[in-house]
């Protein structure tokens, strides 16, 4: 029966195949129905399996369903198999549910695009790969999904490939991800060498055996390298802001809700390994929190609607890694889930505004959009409250869980970075809210006349997500009895024992976070609604910092200087001019020249004169005779 869990993956595959092979004969409506329907089916299948799993709960907390052996090479075996436990079910549920809503939204958003069918084929392929990633029972199959979603990300970022910037952004995302994947692959090989298998259960079972701590650290860091590439952590974060070149639903699905969280999922899945290495945990938290802060500062100044959200995503992912590093894997996954809902909603809101304003992305040319788009504004505000961590919206509970874990494990100094980031988060997101929806109108008259609320296909998924952004946090209330998500995930993920924060402490921490968020919302309100002239004074006094921030800390420029430019130089001066032109072309052309040169002389033998041919034959025969006579006489 559990083998049927493969259906969760098969449904999107079927949808993709139908649209691929007979989609050209179907109307747009039917293509949309098939694409959305297949994801809805896999969402339903996930729910069914979750219910079944709940009622047939196995003692060891997980079930393995192997379909067949995919790679067999000596002792190296990779199964095509699924692992059903609460972690994979919760992930699959989030992915397929948010994915379904975004599919529906896409029908409205992409309705007039000429690449409608291609778009849904890619999107279904993405769903299939993402679900494979979370359902896999070994690192090998996980890696297939991992690369598959990377491919879909590339295809969808460069979806409008006629636009140069879009195809460049796709390439950048792919190459930066490859750097991370290289680390991941090495980590996998090292795991195989040390533990003899890639299956999660086997690795965990062999964990107790004596393996040098340096090797554990090496594996942990190599895997984290892959996670950092996929989840856009410093220093591999550069691809995500550029990925906003893709269609907005893609940003919502891939670059906010699901694919970029694969890194967090993988680190949580391998949590038992990370737990063995305190240094690795410190590095994960360090990179996570640094990225959270670093990205948040860039989000504060950026003027591009979607890029602000992209930096916000990087920052929130940083939080999740910080939680992983603090041993609070449950909190990381919890934040991953709440983030999937509200961040997808934020992106959908930005898409809705873009749709209305003819593709405008510069927030300085917006303002007052609320008048024309009541629902978009309402849902966007809900999502913003959720991400800012205002009680009782989803983000409050998950962010609180993370900050409490960091406080507990690494103490107040590290915790302060988290708090400052939370404050920045509230500020930049409400900057968007006020700049776009509530401040005075700066939209050009012509665009304004065309502005309209988005069609129901787009608005309804947003309403559903808004509802979930409010209520999803209640699955993880920070009190033992009510913490459903912890009760479920603690069966899979390592939980730090005896380190629960006391209730009084917990409440004090909550109040601090809340106060900080409210204060920065007030600050954003002052700057962007009431006293806009404050901004100019502020900009004038912090000109240098602003310059650094708006140029994204010059990271792209540094990469260009130290990596890309030398590569180009070597490619041009050495690989192209010497290897390619001189050696390869030289040898190939040289062979051609030799043949032609010798041919030039040899052709004279071909006189066309029959007599000379006959003469050659006679001479040849004579030579053979002479040879044999000589041989006989000698012998």
């Amino acid at each position: 029966m559990w083998g049927l869990a493969g259906l969760i993956i098969i449904f999107p595959l079927l949808g993709l195949l139908i649209n691929l092979f007979i989609g050209n004969r179907l109307s747009r409506k039917w293509i949309g129905v098939i694409a959305c329907g297949s994801v809805a089916l896999s969402c339903l299948a996930t729910i069914v399996f979750a219910v079944l799993f709940h009622f047939n709960y196995p003692a060891e907390g997980s079930i393995e369903a192997n379909w067949y052996q995919w790679i067999v090479s000596g002792s190296f075996v990779v199964d095509f198999g699924f692992r059903i436990d609460w972690l994979s079910l919760v992930m699959a549920l989030t992915v397929s549910f948010v994915g379904f809503l975004i599919h529906v939204y896409s029908v409205g958003y992409m309705w007039e695009d000429p690449g409608y069918r291609r778009y849904f084929i890619y999107l279904n392929l993405f769903m299939m790969m993402m679900l494979m990633l979370v359902m896999a029972n070994n690192l090998g199959l996980l890696f297939v999904g991992w690369e598959g979603v990377g491919l879909c990300s590339y295809l969808l970022i460069g979806f409008w490939f006629e636009k140069h910037s879009a195809s460049e952004a796709g390439k950048k995302a792919f190459i930066v991800n490859r750097i991370g994947d290289f680390g991941f692959l090495l980590g996998m090989l090292l795991i195989y060498r040390e533990f003899g298998s890639l299956n999660f259960n086997v690795i965990e079972a062999n964990m107790g055996e004596h393996v040098a701590s340096q090797i554990i650290l090496g594996i942990a860091l190599l895997l984290f390298c892959g996670a950092a590439g996929k989840s856009a952590q410093f220093p591999l974060h550069v691809w995500l802001p550029d990925a906003m070149e893709g269609p907005t639903p893609v940003s919502a699905l891939i670059h906010a809700a699901t694919m970029v969280t694969a890194g967090v999922y993988m680190v949580s899945r391998m949590g038992f390994l990370y737990e063995q290495s305190p240094y690795a945990l410190m590095i994960v938290t360090g990179i996570g929190l640094f990225t959270a802060f670093f990205a948040a500062t860039m989000a504060v100044v950026n003027k591009d609607f979607k890029r602000v959200l992209a930096y916000s995503t990087i920052s929130q992912l940083g939080y999740m890694f910080a939680a992983c590093g603090a041993g609070a894997y449950v909190a990381a996954i919890f934040h991953l889930i709440t983030h999937a809902f509200f961040k997808a909603l934020l992106f959908m809101g930005s898409g809705s505004v873009m749709h209305a304003l003819g593709g405008e992305l510069n927030i300085e040319k917006m303002g007052g959009v609320k008048e024309k788009m009541k629902w978009t504004a309402l849902t966007f505000v809900i999502a913003s409250l959720a991400i800012s961590g205002i009680i009782p919206f989803a983000g409050f509970w998950s962010k609180d869980a993370i900050l409490a874990a960091v406080w507990h494990k690494y103490g107040p100094v590290i915790w302060i970075i988290g708090i400052v980031t939370a404050i920045l988060t509230a500020f930049y997101i409400f900057r968007l809210v006020f700049e776009v929806f509530y401040s005075e109108r700066r939209v050009e008259e012509k665009t304004w006349d065309h502005a309209h609320e988005s069609p129901p296909a787009m608005i309804r998924p947003m309403m559903i997500l808004a509802l979930f952004s409010i209520i999803i946090g209640f699955v993880g209330l920070p009190f033992k009895r009510f913490n459903l998500i912890e009760r479920a995930l603690a069966t899979v993920l390592p939980v730090a024992h005896g380190t629960e924060v006391s209730v009084a402490n917990e409440i004090i921490l909550m109040i601090i976070v809340l106060a900080g968020a409210l204060f920065s919302i007030y600050l954003a309100f002052t700057f962007y609604m009431k006293k806009r002239n404050y901004l100019d004074t502020l900009l004038a006094s912090f000109k240098k910092i602003h310059h650094v921030l708006i140029n994204k800390y010059f990271v792209d420029e540094i990469y260009h200087k130290i990596i890309i430019a030398p590569l180009w130089y070597v490619s041009d001066k050495f690989l192209y001019k010497i290897i390619d032109v001189f050696m390869i072309d030289g040898s190939v052309d040289g062979i051609a020249h030799i043949s032609r040169g010798t041919g030039k002389y040899l052709r004279k033998i071909q006189s066309g004169n029959t007599r000379s041919y006959a003469f050659a034959i006679v001479i040849g025969m004579l030579l053979i005779f002479i040879y044999y006579f000589w041989k006989i006489h000698k012998g």
Binding site: I605, G608, A614
Partner: protein
Amino acid sequence: MELYYYLIVSLIVFIIGMIGFFIRRNLITLLMCVELMLNAANLALMVFGTKWGWIEAQAIVLLVMTVAAAEVAVGLALMIVVYKHYSHLFIDQMTKLKG
């Protein structure tokens, strides 16, 4: 050792054919020269067949003569075509295969 004389005859006939092939220009003459060489070879074969008491040699010679007859038929037919094309049969002026 009287077989020795047959071999000399064979050699002479062969050389006549060969020299003829080199110095004559007319295609028909060349064909005749080729036939001479062929028959000289036949004769030599017969000589050695007799010498070693190898009866199959005679069969081979008959076969070669049959093939040669067929070859002459094809050769003459070709010559007619060549003549229609060039209006002459001088081998020196047929150098279309020059590289």
